[in-house]
Amino acid sequence: MKYLYISFLFVFLVACSNQTSTAIEAQNRDNTKNISEQDSNSLSVYQIEGDWLTQNNKKTTLPDLKGKIQVVAMIFTSCQYACPKITDDILAIEKNIMPSDTDKVGFTLISFDVERDSVSKLKKFAFDKKLGSRWTLLRGTEEQVRTLSMLLDVNYEKQPDGSFNHTNIITILDKKGVILYRYEGLEIDAKAIAKKIKSALQ
């Protein structure tokens, strides 16, 4: 009887967790208000140390992303459906940002695929998807990527065929790297997100 009870509980929990994958705004933290300097440093996801490489083969660190609001997602370039789609979603957000604000917002994709997503693969992906100069594609070590996934609350698992199962999350980071908003799923409202970014810029 106890097992039955617990298993119901689990089915319930699983059912609940699935609900979140429709495009809802996961406001797990209200970081938009008055965060002190110290708090904002200690809550920044840019605390992950180490070097990353961009699609232009430039060595970089996460703190280099500071100064702009960043729209961030984790992908892998050989992904058939979800990653191109999430990239399209972010492109749609970019289109909805006011021309006067475009220099204040950056777009960053981080690859899960530390083995296969070489700099040239990232470059090709950026070219194929027509990602402009405001986009940064990053590759890092397995450990860096896993740690970042923990901070962005992105689940992923490598499959035997080399692809990745992963949750689809777009994260909006403030100028210091503190999470402002998270959007889960593949049906996001680009206009609404652009509006949120605009108000965060003010």
């Binding site: 089915v11 967790s17 699935n18 994958s21 140390e49 992923y156 698992e157 992963h166």
Partner: protein
């Protein structure tokens, strides 16, 4: 066996000499000292528990793993040397508000310290556990490594059948967590020489955030339904059920969460 071990030491030392810049800032201690409290788990093929039918067999490479979970005394030493991991200092991004709540203060276990010292440290986040292992020159075991090591039977007196380990685990799952955890090495030692893989605490693993319940990169709704159905099916098999509980529990965690009966042990590469 000894030759293998020495070769392993050598390889690890060479490896550590060239470690890349690390995510966490903790300085690694001498790994050969740390390894005394570890055992070598020879790798092999392992079929981990999965929610659906296409369970795959994975080859697990040999690795070292701590004989017992990290204790409060061990963790106190770490915090003293790395004060940014003190209860009041750690960022909420890396450890939630209940981090080390069972300690009296930042650097003291309090009046229960004689009981706490040898008990496994709990109320620690994945980030804190990762930083501790790094400080030891180690790392967290992967999910597959942990499950592989935990699947071993009790050492010495063999259990009557394979279900007995499961029966033991399920019995433990049923019991509410005690207010004060018993010390490490208080449950049983398995055939690898590892203590308390079941029956004492839950343990963090490196890649606990594998997407299990919501696993398709396309987020296909069909698969979600399947996961619920098969969940109920595997629950009918008590052997899978113990694993199912662990996978379900991990699924519910976030890396900054701390839980009163969730601790960790460290592992290390061999090769």
């Amino acid at each position: 066996m000894h030759v293998l071990k020495i070769a392993c030491f050598a390889l690890i030392s060479i490896k550590l000499g060239f470690t890349k810049e690390s995510v966490f800032r903790e300085k690694a201690q001498d790994p050969t000292v740390a390894q005394k409290e570890m055992v070598l788990v020879k790798g092999g093929n392992f079929t981990p528990f999965y929610k659906n039918a296409n369970s795959k067999t994975i080859f697990v490479k040999p690795f070292y793993i701590d004989v017992h979970a990290v204790t409060n005394a061990d963790f106190l030493r770490f915090v003293k040397e790395n004060p940014r991991w003190a209860r009041s200092k750690a960022s909420r991004l890396f450890a939630d508000a209940a981090y080390l709540k069972h300690w009296a203060s930042d650097f003291s276990l309090g009046k229960d310290s004689s009981l706490l010292e040898d008990a496994p440290v709990t109320n620690v986040s994945w980030f804190a556990a990762t930083a501790y292992c790094k400080w030891k020159g180690k790392r967290l075991p992967t999910l597959v490594e942990w499950e592989f090591a935990a699947a071993a039977e009790r050492a010495g007196k063999a259990l009557s059948d394979t279900n007995s380990l499961t029966a033991f685990i399920l019995k433990w799952y049923e019991k509410p967590a005690p207010r004060m955890l018993p010390p490490t090495k208080s449950t049983f030692k398995n055939t690898y020489g590892l203590w308390d893989m079941h029956g004492l605490i839950w343990e963090w693993v490196y890649d606990f955030n594998m997407s299990v319940a919501n696993s398709d990169s396309r987020n296909a709704p069909v698969n979600k339904n399947l996961s619920c159905v098969s969940g109920a099916v595997s629950a009918a098999n008590p052997k899978d059920y113990a694993s199912y509980m662990r996978y379900g529990f991990r699924q519910s965690l976030k890396a900054n969460y701390t839980v009163a009966n969730l601790g960790f042990r460290c592992a290390q590469n061999c090769k």
